[in-house]
């Protein structure tokens, strides 16, 4: 017995030594990083605990590895949200014909698949016709308006339309094109994981694939002379935003698109010469959605008064670390600024901060304050609303807290209610919420934004799932404007339609814009240069908006 005690005491004294020995041994054994060749370009875009080898560019759920549709495979055109133009990629041009019922796309001539086969119009028509036979692969419902897609010659593809649908151009040009000679032999393209992709993109060779790390090498036959300048891409599995942030701070990651709190101190401060970020406001706006089917909130003047009570400056500072700016009255952020209508901007004076006016408007609307300073419904009940936010989305939770305090000032009682993503989404989509913060639809024109906000196309009764238009607002005029928009390719006509949509938006306040949605992008210039910046905005920096990030992938250079 005594001996056991002795051994134990001995072990107790020894244990720190043993620990140090352990560390030394481990470090000796593991610090032989393969240092052959130039450094890999390390990108953090997906947050996963382990990678699954899937390079199928057609699956709509986004379960294939980044950059399958924006680096391995390529589209015909890339919409550049910084310049607002379609950059010719696998195609060189397009032309509407036959009263916008036919679209002719001319293809680039010197493109070769990564296995050496030439890229032709047959590949394009095959891609689209595969989507026709497999509805699961057609997330943009292209075959709702397409009649046929055929190769006229090796470099000309003809799209024929069932009905005029000009916005369909966007979906058609951004489709990743697959090689016919590989995919025609695949039995079930929906369940095909495409482990060794044959593609046209700048990076096609899978150099290594483990669950925690994988590497993507250059396409030996890439059509752009001398590009890409980067030898290989490397991806690590970081399961959470925190882990990705730590790696970014430590300089292990060269390019990322994460939300980082207090970025100037946390990230830039670690290495001001090399650590940079750029958050251009290309997307839409973040909205406070109010359920227009509920009494009180169904009143236009009330919605405008709620908007006037919200201190957006404070939200941007407190919740968003000053990464963005308060929303424009038309809800169009910088990227869509050329579309803004002057009339709508003037009429949208309710997207401002004016407590007095908000109080006046609510008084006028007939909702008097009760004994507790809270306004009363006609039936005598005090106003009380929940603001639903996804639990853990701390930026929006703080924004909701500011809104809740603001609304108290005008006599509206609210409570910030956090819920799990699935439960939150279901309550929003079913119209079973009072207020909630969420995003809008994105696209190259404001058409999708306003269609999602005001068209009856996606309107569903409360209790049924609506994919967009959660606040349940519809306008007949917007419906007809949408139809008119779908039929025209005339720039001026399009502009007039979008202007009118904006006017309807600011007149009816179907939802309340809060702040412009930034697109997150961080980069490290220690090993690589030529990232897009505010001074050289050749594309947006964020890797989160494929296929636009292809522009960055081919332009980044080793130092």
């Amino acid at each position: 017995m005594y001996s056991i005690h002795c051994i134990y005491q001995y072990a107790l004294k020894l244990s720190p030594m043993v620990l140090i020995c352990f560390i030394l041994i481990f470090n000796c054994c593991t610090q032989h990083e393969k240092n052959s060749g130039p450094p890999p370009f390390v990108i953090s875009q997906e947050q996963v605990s382990s990678f699954v080898r899937n390079f199928n560019p057609l699956i709509p759920s986004g379960s294939s590895r980044w950059p399958t549709i924006s680096g391995i495979y390529e589209p015909l055109f890339i919409y550049n949200s910084m310049t607002g133009i379609y950059v010719p990629w696998l195609a060189t041009g397009y032309e509407w014909k036959d009263g916008n019922l036919q679209l002719d796309v001319t293809l680039r001539e010197n493109v070769i698949w990564s296995d050496g086969e030439p890229f032709t119009a047959n590949d394009v028509s095959f891609t689209f016709n595969l989507k026709k036979t497999n509805a699961a692969l057609d997330p943009r419902a292209s075959w709702g308006y397409l009649k046929s897609v055929e190769a006229i010659n090796n470099h000309l593809v003809r799209f024929k339309f069932l009905r005029i649908f000009v916005p369909g151009l966007h979906a058609l040009t951004e489709q990743a094109i697959i090689p016919k000679h590989i995919w025609e032999n695949i039995e079930d393209p929906v369940k095909f994981t495409n482990p060794d992709p044959v593609a046209t993109g700048p990076f096609t060779e899978i150099l290594r694939f483990d669950h925690q790390i994988w590497e993507l090498g250059r396409n030996p036959h890439y059509w752009q002379e001398g590009k890409p300048a980067v030898e290989r891409l490397r991806f690590y599995a970081y399961p959470t935003n925190e882990q990705a942030t730590i790696a970014l701070i430590n300089g292990e990651v060269d390019w990322a698109g994460n939300f980082i709190p207090a970025i100037d101190r946390v990230f830039v401060g670690r290495d001001p010469d090399n650590h940079h970020y750029w958050f251009p406001r290309v997307g839409g706006s973040i909205f406070l959605y109010v359920n227009t089917t509920k009494p009180f909130l169904d009143n236009i003047e009330v919605r405008k008064a709620i908007s006037l009570a919200i201190n957006r400056e404070l939200i941007v500072r407190v919740a968003m670390y000053d990464y963005t700016i308060p929303a424009h009255p038309t809800a169009l952020a910088d990227g869509l600024a050329p579309w803004r209508s002057e009339t709508a901007t003037e009429n949208g004076d309710w997207v401002a901060y004016d407590i007095n006016r908000a109080n006046e408007m609510l008084d006028e609307a007939g909702f008097k304050k009760g004994p507790n300073g809270i306004r009363l419904l006609p039936d005598g009940n005090e106003l009380f609303f929940d603001i639903s936010i996804v639990s853990g989305w701390s930026d929006w939770i703080r924004a909701a807290q500011v809104i809740s305090q603001n609304l108290k000032m005008v006599g509206i009682n609210t409570r910030v209610k956090t819920r799990d993503f699935g439960a939150w989404l279901s309550s929003m989509q079913n119209g079973e919420f009072d207020m909630g913060i969420a995003w809008t639809e994105k696209g190259p024109t404001p058409y999708r934004l306003y269609r999602g906000l005001m068209s009856s196309e996606f309107l569903k009764p409360v209790g049924e799932t609506a994919e967009v238009n959660w606040h349940r607002f519809a306008s007949d005029e917007v419906d007809s404007l949408c139809i008119a928009f779908e039929k025209t390719s005339d720039r001026d006509e399009i502009k007039q339609i979008i202007y009118r949509m904006q006017e309807i938006f600011v007149d009816n306040a179907p939802a309340i814009p809060l702040f412009a949605e930034p697109s997150w992008g961080q980069y490290n210039t220690k090993r690589f240069t030529n990232f897009p910046t505010a001074k050289n905005p050749y594309a947006q920096i964020s890797p989160n908006y494929p296929p636009e990030n292809l522009l960055v992938l081919v332009n980044v250079e080793p130092k």
Binding site: I23, T30, S49, N56, S61, T193, Q212, Q243, G422, K442
Partner: protein
């Protein structure tokens, strides 16, 4: 001995019924959550996908409007043939493939730390009880109870920050480094142990106290029994009395606890795995629940259920040998 076999078979029957009940709940409870997987995947794109995509998404995942009972019987039938379906979040990967790699890492990390903490805790409990009132007894129980009071994920975060981020002694993430190739080779095994060290350490530190205290308490009760006095009176060596007379009896409740813990190994390391980016089951489970990935959830819950039941059955067998009274 035939009675023992009867006893084991009876237990096996009980476990079969328990397994069926658990698998049924696995099927129905996830489906009672609000929302559906296609909507959640659609919303993940935050406006980058058109509403029109919903049709395609439902088509892809084969989500049907078949009545729930019909789906339930298909599910049972598929389970019996070992088909757990195709994951939604990791489409089109079969659930069995996703689980199998994650399972190995979790068993390695959580299993090893459980065995270490159980054996060390039980041994320490034995020692402490044998020399109760001694220096060790006055120091260890409160110290370990103190560590045991920490939430394990908090300790994991502190350890990661201090020894990983601050001092740089240990890796910040993953189960092995970039330089080694997975397989049965020495550098890989050493690297895997190195990566598992910190997460395992935090898990051992938190759970050690529990094993030690419960062992110490039963041991003290056992030491007061007549047969111990008798054994001492016979003049047996004190090591023998401690281990073969006292500890063998006192270990029984701990052993049952070990069986339970062994089963929960598969789910227990959830937050530790997330903090250390460990590619185990924990993060997978979180992801499956978030994405309402029914097939993956069912698969994960099934492995956990089977592990709990299997471990308990093994403990039943072990106790049969350790405790002659159950054999009667």
């Amino acid at each position: 001995m035939s009675t023992s076999i009867q006893y084991l078979l009876r237990r096996l029957g009980f476990y079969a019924i328990a397994a069926w009940a658990a698998l049924t709940l696995n099927f129905f409870i996830p489906r009672m959550m609000p929302g559906d997987p296609a909507s959640i995947i659609f919303a993940r794109f935050r406006g980058k996908l058109n509403p029109e995509a919903m049709v395609a998404l439902r088509e892809t995942f084969g989500l049907t409007d078949e009545p729930l009972m019909g789906q339930y019987f298909t599910y049972l039938k598929n389970l019996l043939s070992g088909d757990l379906g195709i994951s939604i979040a990791y489409f089109p990967q079969p659930v069995t493939e996703i689980i199998s790699t994650a399972l190995l890492w979790t068993i390695f990390l959580a299993g090893t730390s459980l065995i270490i903490s159980f054996s060390l805790g039980t041994l320490l409990g034995t020692l402490v009880a044998w020399k109760r009132g001694g220096r060790l007894d006055s120091f260890l129980p409160p110290a370990l109870a103190f560590f045991g009071a920490f939430p394990y994920f908090w300790l994991a975060m502190v350890a990661l920050f201090a020894f990983g981020f601050g001092l740089g002694w240990f890796p910040l993430r993953h189960a092995y480094g970039d330089a080694v190739t997975p397989g049965f080779n020495l550098p890989f095994i050493i690297d895997a142990i190195y990566h598992a060290f910190l997460p395992a350490l935090t898990m051992v530190m938190v759970s050690l106290g529990g094993w030690m205290l419960s062992m110490r308490n039963t041991m003290i009760t056992t030491l007061g029994a007549d047969y111990i006095t008798f054994a001492r009176a016979k003049g047996l060596p004190s090591k023998m009395v401690m281990l073969k007379y006292a500890a063998r009896n006192a270990i029984l409740p701990n052993f049952t606890g070990f069986g339970m813990a062994l089963g929960f190994v598969l789910s227990g390391a959830l937050l530790t795995e997330i903090i250390f980016s460990y590619p185990g089951q924990g993060y997978l489970l979180l992801e499956a629940v978030r994405a309402q990935d029914f097939p993956l959830m069912q698969g994960l819950f099934m492995t956990i259920t089977l592990a709990v039941l299997g471990a308990n059955w093994l403990v039943d067998i072990a106790i049969l040998f350790l405790d002659p009274r159950t054999r009667r």
